[in-house]
Every structure is written in C-alpha cells, then in structure tokens.
C-alpha cells in the first residue's frame, strides 16, 4: 500500500497527500467522471456509491450517494474553481450535517511519472459549529496533535 500522509497544517485544515502511479490526465478523469468516481470513492468497506452526478463547471453541482447494508448518506456541493487537470475548489455538505459546509481544495501535480493528489479540507468556524468538529475546536486538530505528541512522548 502506498503511504498516505494526513497532516493538520493549519488550525482548521486537514491535508491528505497521496501519490499515484499514473499520469495526471488519468488521475483527473478518475476524480471527475461519475462512472469512474463510483468505482473508488465508496468509503468504508461494505459501502457502495450507487449514485454519482458531476456537473463539472464553475457553479455546477455534484452529488454523491453512499449506501451500506443498513444506511444511506449523501454529499452535495458546488464547484467554485476549476483548472483542468490541475486544481479543483469545491464545497462539500453531508446530508447528516446540513449546516456544516466544508471547503475542499484538490491539487493534482505530476512528478517523475507519479501524480500527487493533495486534498485540503478547510473547516470554517461556522461550518464546524454544528458538525462533528465543533467551534470550540478553534485551535484545531494541529493543536490536538501537538498535544498528542507531547502526551505520547511523555507517557510511554
């Protein structure tokens, strides 16, 4: 398995970076063509994505629906910025947290035949207020991780 790097570069951001052994145009297609997205963005094992609609233009919306044996969840959002094969900026709202909008930036860069996908999830204070990560988290996950580091190094 290729390594996935998950960090918290700012107080309200989660960054996920992963490289793929494929040229950038293919990685872009796999992120933007519904038939392809349905095959991999299925979430935890046992989940499927029966519905996937992507209207890839600025202001266009997308909709993902996940299903698992005893449940169903959807995410919708709107494309704010599109630089073909290079960058996507979109909003993301899960139906289970309707007041909780996340801003997602995806960067696609190619180096030595590898394509790096960098995904930044920005939680703003309003968006996080009613969701899983609520407003008291203003110092964010980075702080929590720093604390974790301190704790782990100090107590093991």
């Amino acid at each position: 398995m290729r390594p996935l790097r998950m960090t918290t570069p700012t107080d309200t951001t989660i960054e996920i970076v992963r490289s793929f052994d494929a040229p950038r145009p293919l990685v872009w297609r796999a992120h933007t063509e519904p038939a392809l997205v349905k095959r991999w963005l299925t979430g935890p094992s046992g989940h499927t994505m029966p519905e996937c609609e992507i209207d890839l233009r600025i202001g266009g919306t997308y909709r993902y629906v996940w299903e698992w044996p005893d449940g169903r969840m959807s995410a919708t959002g709107r494309f704010r910025e599109i630089e073909t094969e290079n960058r996507l900026l979109l909003t993301e709202i899960f139906d289970v947290f309707p007041d909780n909008e996340t801003l997602v930036e995806q960067l696609f860069t190619e180096r030595d035949g590898q394509t790096f996908v960098t995904m930044n999830l920005h939680y703003d204070s309003k968006a996080t207020r009613d969701g899983v990560l609520k407003s008291p988290m203003d110092e964010g996950l980075e702080a929590s991780y720093r604390s974790l580091d301190a704790l782990v190094s100090g107590t093991v």
Partner: protein, 110 residues
C-alpha cells in the same frame, strides 16, 4: 466516554495544552503546574477544571496535597476519529489505484 467536543474544547486553549505537556512529564501539584505561568491560582484552577471535565487529567489525594496527573486514554476518541478518517481515505485510494491501472491498460490498447 467524553465527547469529542468536550475534549477538543479542552485542547483548544494554549495554556491548557501547556499544562498537559507539563503533566506528560509526570504528576504535579497546582503550585508546581502554576510555576512556569504568570497566572493566578484561580485561573489555573479553572483551566484544570476544564481539563478534568474532559477527562484529560485526574486528581489524586495525597495527604494535604492533591497532585494532578494526565489520563492519556482520554485522547482515544480523537485518535479514533482521525484513524477512521485516515483508513477510509487509504481504502478509497487503494481502489483508485485499481481504477487507474485499468485506465492505463485501456490507453495502451490500440
């Protein structure tokens, strides 16, 4: 089990994180915890109360002294949350590897 909210709230303050870092070195009394901070005992006590409510520290009674100590297990909900998130993306991206391999083969087929 304490909620993520309570724990994140407790960790959202730099003083409280510093207190935790201090306690990570070993248990300490309120006076010992207070030492590096230019802060009154009541405000330190308030911070300690928040940490204790979140389950991050506990108090031991030792005669007249009441040393605080860290409860590392209290951070488990945060670790679980992040681990779960990381795992989902690892699984998604492993499937994406397969999709990309298929696409590459299609491209190679004349």
């Amino acid at each position: 089990m304490h909620s993520l909210d309570t724990i994140f709230h407790a960790l959202s303050d730099p003083t409280r994180r510093a207190i935790l870092a201090r306690l990570a070195e070993g248990e300490a009394t309120v006076d010992q915890i207070r030492e590096p901070f230019s802060m009154s005992q009541p405000s330190i006590s308030r911070h300690l109360k928040v940490l204790e409510r979140a389950g991050l520290i506990s108090t031991r009674v030792d005669g007249t002294s009441r040393p605080r100590r860290i409860e590392p297990a209290a951070l488990t909900p945060i670790e679980d949350w992040l681990d779960r998130y990381r795992m989902i993306w690892q699984e998604n991206y492993t499937r994406l590897d397969d999709v990309l391999n298929d696409l590459k083969q299609e491209d190679d087929t004349p």
